[in-house]
């Protein structure tokens, strides 16, 4: 048993850092540090830079761009990107549709979609949630009716993240209405430029446009866009959701944010003192830090177990989601507190970039409430642990 990285692992970490230093524009890094949301072009450019280095889709099969890293190397890579901070690779491409196509798609689908997904030539989005079926995916109502070599899709997806940038959407659709619940659901790939698709933006409480409704009004989809077998969409979705958890604790991001908060609190005046002089503030910050340190070790335990088990889903992933979101939300509150009353000042037009963190503090706090809601709410995660781990 040892917690230290091996020399080889440390060398790998240095490689990652070196690459980050070279490949990521310093101005973008600074903006991300202050909580800015990267633009579409920045995300694409970054993923292409990673892809050029061979690191865009490390956990895919080697044939399709994977790196065959150890679980520890995957962890180091994620952690370094988050700590830098760098933009994340697009999860819909990298963690979701890619692995599903690689595992269950036809050879033609693999050749057609995987290279473009890795290079972000196609931007994917996820069509799972529906109005009235948030955490309860099995009750979904979007239908795909087979008509010869095509499906006709009718329905209504929602909470579709970044669909406004997307070229393609992967959907769960009901292909057999006669069987119930999880059965009769299929996994379908749909071109966002298809006739009959309408996109409606949903603004979130911080005023930003991250999510959308996607309406399908008799959209025709070639049958060759079905992944795997009809009626097995639920299995593929479960496979995807079990893999989605990699890095979900966002420990690296939170470590970076702790440092940033300490730095800002040490320089933000509050009358004759700085915020960091306040004992109670400092103690609340270190309390979150100890929770974060524990989560880091827990994550390493999960990673090491995955290393041994060959990557099977670990029920501790729900724990990572719960505590990871709580810590991030707690940090967003501390950042808001550094700003204090002045965080009320919205300043989109603010030219003084040194104060961008302040203008972003409240919107980030508002926006990050989503972390305990989206991707399976923390209540759902608790239900999962109660059942799968505790046997209740």
């Amino acid at each position: 048993m040892q917690l230290q990285f091996t020399p080889a692992e440390l060398a790998f970490r240095d490689q990652v850092r070196e690459f980050l230093g070279q490949a990521l524009p310093a101005a973008l890094r600074a903006r991300l540090t202050d909580g800015a949301i990267p633009a579409r072009e920045e995300i694409i450019a970054w993923q292409r830079a990673l892809n050029a280095r061979g690191w865009a889709v490390p956990h895919w099969p080697v044939q399709w761009g994977g790196t065959n890293w150890s679980a520890i190397e995957h962890h180091i890579f994620q952690d370094e990107l988050q700590q830098w901070p760098a933009p994340a690779t697009l999860p819909f491409n990298v963690d979701m549709v890619g692995p599903v196509i690689a595992a269950f798609g036809s050879e033609a689908q693999k050749r057609r979609f995987l290279p473009r997904a890795a290079n972000l030539d196609d931007w994917w989005c996820q069509g799972f949630s529906e109005p009235g079926a948030g955490s309860d995916l099995a009750s979904l109502r979007t239908t795909a009716t087979r008509l010869g070599d095509r499906y006709r899709v009718r329905g209504h997806k929602t909470w579709t993240t970044l669909a406004q940038h997307a070229d393609w959407i992967f959907c769960l659709v009901r292909t057999d209405p006669t069987v119930k619940k999880q059965q009769g659901i299929s996994f379908l790939l749909i071109d966002m430029r298809s006739k009959g698709i309408t996109l409606r933006p949903i603004l979130t409480i911080d005023g930003s446009h991250e999510i959308n409704e996607v309406l399908f009004d008799d959209v025709e989809v070639p049958a060759e866009n079905l992944v795997g077998e009809e009626g097995r969409g639920w299995d593929y979705a479960k496979y995807l959701l079990s893999r989605e958890r990699t890095g979900i604790a966002r420990v690296g991001s939170s470590k970076q944010l702790v440092r940033r908060i300490r730095q800002l609190a040490a320089s933000t005046r509050r009358g004759p003192r700085v915020v960091l002089d306040d004992v109670s503030f400092r103690e609340r910050l270190v309390l979150l830090e100890t929770e974060l340190k524990a989560l880091e070790i827990t994550q390493l335990r999960v990673v090491a177990a995955a290393q041994r088990s060959g990557g099977r889903a670990d029920p501790l992933a729900s724990l990572l989601k719960i505590r990871g979101s709580e810590i991030q939300q707690g940090l967003s509150e501390l950042l808001l507190e550094v700003g204090g009353a002045r965080a009320a000042r919205s300043a989109p037009e603010e030219s003084d970039s040194a104060m961008q963190w302040l203008a972003r503090a409240a919107p980030r706090y508002f926006n990050w409430r989503k972390l305990s809601i989206y991707g399976g709410s923390n209540e759902i995660q608790r239900n999962i642990i109660a059942k799968a781990v505790l046997g209740l």
């Binding site: 949630s129 009235g132 948030g134 955490s135 309860d136 009750s139 929602t158 909470w159 949903i202 603004l203 979130t204 409480i205 005023g207 999510i211 005046r269 509050r270 009358g271 004759p272 003192r273 306040d278 109670s280 503030f281 509150e333 808001l336 507190e337 204090g340 009353a341 002045r342 965080a343 009320a344 000042r345 919205s346 300043a347 409240a362 919107p363 706090y365 508002f366 409430r369 989503k370 305990s372 809601i373 989206y374 709410s377 923390n378 209540e379 608790r382």
Partner: protein, 383 residues
């Protein structure tokens, strides 16, 4: 001891509630928010008509002769409706300073406030100040013809649209002393005064002010120059009590909305309010709300205490408690609404944002716990 409302109090409460219920739907609110001044001019006129803008002023000055309890009733209704109008800025803070520190001529302005033809804003915060009421760095120096004021103010609620501004400035003493503060009543168009107006994170309006050699007469000072600190501290305490009431109104609306959602939203084939884990969280929201309601009462009933230290301790306790409650209820309301709670179009988020900003105004929960801990707490008697 008696918690029941008098007939007059009930009239004030009902008048406010009725006005807001009739004319403050979410479309109307959006329209008011989009105006240059960021609130409903016609609502302001309607409040004036009902006498609400004179609630705390002496009857001899055109007011209703009410006190903190009556203001509490108005502000609670404002909180429920998320009303945008500058009641706190003009009536509670501005009117409060005119009442407490003004001479006869200045107090005569109260009638104009009550009539709805004069709005005020009070500049309580500076870019580097600590948030303590008397932490004032803006300076006024004597000139041959009166005063010259230099400094900067930030986040002046409704400071962009107000007709007149009350500017605390230091004429003596050290930066956080109560002594040495003069309260200047300035015309918003005064030369040398520049205003930068913006929407705050809760959709209300505020402004940054820069005072660059602004000239004022002795007649523009409220009370003796240098003696304004006590009135300022007191009026900020009254503002805190009013904010506590507004928060209770907002929390009530949010709690009811969440409860309704739990009863109607179906998942896994049943209303989600059937899930015991969510029930217990709804109960905790209710408990937090009722405790906050008690604390807003405590604030309203304590703010008349003429002993500054006792009054301040009570208001610290109330603001800290309410800020914490607002944080809890805001977060839980969003969480229990799930994805819907995250959307800008749904009202829950507006309440959540306003409650967050109330916590940060006039000192956050942490600032007040810290101040109360330093001042020895509420229970100080010996055993």
């Amino acid at each position: 001891m008696d918690f029941s409302l008098s007939d007059e109090q009930r009239q004030i409460q009902e008048a406010t509630q009725r006005l807001l219920a009739d004319r403050y739907g979410s479309e109307a609110r959006a329209r008011y928010a989009a105006t240059p001044e960021g609130y409903g001019r016609e609502m302001w006129a309607a409040y004036a008509e009902q006498g609400l803008l004179g609630v705390p002023f002496a009857e001899s000055l055109g007011g209703l002769g009410g006190g903190p309890l009556e203001v509490m009733l108005v502000m609670e209704a404002f909180g429920r409706a998320l009303a945008l109008e500058p009641y706190l800025a003009t009536v509670v803070l501005g009117g409060g300073l005119l009442s407490r520190a003004g001479n006869e001529a200045q107090r005569a302005l109260l009638a104009r406030i009550a009539a709805g033809v004069l709005t005020l804003a009070v500049a309580t915060l500076e870019p580097d100040s600590s948030g303590a009421p008397c932490d004032v760095g803006t300076r006024a120096r004597r000139s041959e013809r009166g005063w010259v004021i230099d400094g900067a103010k930030t986040l002046v609620a409704h400071g962009g649209g107000a007709d007149r501004l009350i500017i605390p400035a230091r004429v003596g003493g050290e930066r956080t002393d109560t002594d040495g503060i003069a309260l200047f009543l300035l015309d918003a168009q005064a030369p040398g005064l520049s205003r930068h107006d913006y929407a705050t994170q809760d959709g209300l309006r505020a402004a940054d002010l820069v005072l660059n050699g602004v000239r004022a007469d002795d007649a523009d000072v409220l009370g003796p120059a240098g003696a304004g600190g006590a009135a300022l501290a007191r009026v900020i305490d009254e503002g805190i009590a009013a904010l506590c009431a507004e928060a209770v109104g907002a929390m009530s609306a949010l709690q009811e909305m969440t409860l309704e959602y739990l009863k109607t939203r179906q998942q896994f084939g049943v209303a989600i309010g059937q899930f015991q884990a969510l029930q217990h969280r709804a109960v905790e929201m209710f408990v937090v709300l009722e405790q906050a309601r008690s604390m807003a009462l405590y604030a309203a009933l304590s703010v008349s205490d003429d002993r500054p230290a006792e009054r301040r301790r009570a208001l610290c306790a109330a603001k800290a408690h309410i800020g914490r409650a607002a944080r809890h209820i805001g977060q839980e309301a969003i969480q229990l609404h799930g994805g819907l709670g995250m959307t800008l179009d749904y009202a829950a988020g507006r309440y959540f944002r306003r409650l967050t900003m109330i916590d940060l105004t006039f000192g956050s929960q942490h600032d007040h716990i810290s101040e109360l801990a330093k001042s020895g707490g509420l229970e100080q008697g010996s055993v």
